[in-house]
């Protein structure tokens, strides 16, 4: 068997337990192959535990391990880095816990915070950078680590309690449309729950919309006299959180 065929047969053994490789092993293959079978799965399990620490705490050891093992069996790793393993774990959890949406939402939050941790560097602007801006043509450039998604549960409160080793609240549905935004400021990942107006405005900013266009959308969603105040508050919040890395005039 040439090297390519041997490596394919070993891959099939690791993923599916295929037997073809056994004939290539010197001596009794069972205890020797078992070392690699175990190491492959143990490393991926450790990786998921490390990345999805709050999901692990929420589900407990047995629940998390069952979910992780199901994910490992159906998701062989493809990236050169273990850091990428787990990017679809929230989908596996959605399938396993269709009636407990907080589980997949916790997974998204764990994953996004981890990605923000070593995401691209960028220096936020200070308030001084906003003086003299032509706001009719201004475009806000948003920090590259920002991720956002709509949530339907109190996953943020659960995550916070678990991170502080406090007793978490019971899972509950949110009554108002809410999103989570995750980003990194300096070296620390952060998250914040935002309402649907901020979610829409920030999504527009990420897509390159002008601040004027963002203000128009805000105005369309409320009594127009309140729009400047709301837009100003959003801008101040984004500035304070280090979300804006440049303001361009186009």
């Amino acid at each position: 068997m040439n090297l390519l065929a041997l490596q394919r047969s070993m891959r099939e053994y690791l993923i599916r337990g295929a037997d073809e490789i056994r004939a290539q092993i010197h001596g009794d293959p069972s205890p020797r192959l078992a070392v690699y079978h175990h190491a492959y799965r143990a490393q991926l399990l450790d990786c998921l535990r490390d990345t999805f620490e709050r999901v692990w705490a929420w589900l407990g050891d047995a629940g998390f391990e069952a979910a992780a093992r199901r994910h490992i069996e159906s998701h062989p790793p493809h990236s050169w880095t273990l850091n990428d393993y787990g990017d679809e774990f929230d989908r596996t959890l959605s399938e396993l816990y269709p009636d407990d949406r907080e589980v997949a939402e916790l997974a998204w939050l764990d994953w996004s915070l981890r990605r923000a941790f070593d995401g691209h560097d960028a220096t936020p602007v200070t308030a001084d950078a906003l003086s003299g801006i032509d706001w009719d043509h201004a475009i806000l450039c948003i920090v590259p680590t920002l991720r956002m998604r709509l949530i339907s549960t109190n996953c943020a409160a659960i995550w916070t309690a678990l991170s502080k080793k406090n007793a978490p609240p019971a899972a509950a549905r949110l009554h108002a449309p809410t999103a989570l935004r995750v980003w990194r400021k300096d070296f620390s990942p952060h998250f914040r729950a935002v309402d649907s107006i901020e979610q829409q405005a920030l999504s527009m900013a990420c897509d390159g919309a002008s601040f004027a266009a963002i203000c128009s959308v805000i105005a369309a969603r409320m009594e127009s006299s309140r729009a400047p105040e709301v837009a100003g508050a959003l801008l101040a919040g984004w500035l304070q959180d280090g979300l804006i890395i440049a303001v361009e005039n186009r």
Binding site: Q24, I25, L33, W80, D118, D121
Partner: protein, 280 residues
């Protein structure tokens, strides 16, 4: 003009692990160099690269990788090499090492150091991959002998013969893991001293020392979760007699103790080396 040789560096070092970041950032840890896992710092930004820059200001660095997959029959991945080259340019390490193994093929990555058959077919693959990596990185590589738990019916040569020929064909160097030699010798019933005698001494630039475990099924496992064992220290003593001016370090990846424990182990490596030099 890319460097075609790796200078000797006869120091004693430790692997950089997160529980010890603060110790190393103080800059007063008594080591001659620090080894970093390349992939831990092949990231886009954030704290890891900031820490690495600070460590780099305080200690010479060697870069040790686990994902090059130098033995993949479908070739080495250029995007990986280019990312690694970016880090090499940033860090300017004393040298860059990885393992004689394969980790994946055709888009699958096991993230484990899988054994190669020691055949001429594998030799051609490994050497072609090493030559490409050395071209991209613009420097010779160090390749580490793996711990293995199985060998292949088609093997045509010993591991040490494979390493020797690999060095001869590519100009690469060796990172000799003495614990891995001990573990593989036990698992495959060969003489570890014959291994030491069989590798080209002039190509060895670094030695790893680490702990292992017995899996209770007749195999030793390279777990890096224990202190270096007495038989491995004895083998290291024999290595001191065989190899001169090599860098030595302790690897610990699990159940990581306080830094002082690892420094005590490193002092033993210093003492064994000094004793041999006095006797020689």
């Amino acid at each position: 003009m890319p460097a075609t040789s790796v200078a000797s560096f006869a120091g004693f070092g430790l692997g950089l692990r997160p529980p010890h970041y603060r110790d190393f950032l103080r800059g007063d840890v008594p080591v001659d160099f620090v080894e970093v896992i390349s992939e831990n710092f092949m990231v886009k930004g954030g704290r890891p690269l900031n820490i690495l820059a600070a460590i780099r200001d305080r200690y010479p660095i060697v870069m040790h990788g686990v994902s090059m997959s130098i033995g993949s029959a479908d070739g080495i991945k250029l995007d990986y090499l280019l990312r690694l080259k970016g880090l090499v340019d940033r860090v300017q390490p004393l040298w860059v090492s990885d393992h004689l193994c394969w980790t994946g093929i055709e888009g699958f990555n096991s993230h484990d150091l899988l054994p190669l058959p020691y055949t001429e077919d594998a030799m051609r693959v490994v050497c072609a991959n090493i030559l490409l990596a050395q071209d991209v990185l613009e420097r010779p590589l160090l390749l580490e002998n793996p711990s293995t738990y199985m060998s292949f019916a088609d093997d045509e040569m010993s591991e040490w013969a494979f390493l020797s020929e690999m060095c001869h064909r590519t100009g690469c160097y060796l990172l000799l893991d003495v614990n891995n030699i001990y573990v593989s010798a036990s698992n495959h019933a060969f003489d570890p001293l014959a291994y030491l005698a069989g590798v080209p001494a002039e190509r060895v630039r670094q030695i790893h020392l680490a702990g292992h475990s017995d899996n209770g099924r007749g195999l030793l496992i390279d777990t890096h979760d224990h202190p270096v064992s007495d038989p491995v220290w004895l083998l290291y003593r024999a290595a001191c007699a065989r190899f001169s001016r090599v860098a030595t370090m302790i690897e610990r990846d699990d159940d990581i103790p306080p830094l002082s424990d690892l420094l005590t182990e490193l002092d033993l490596a210093r003492a064994l080396t000094a004793a041999w030099q006095r006797a020689a």
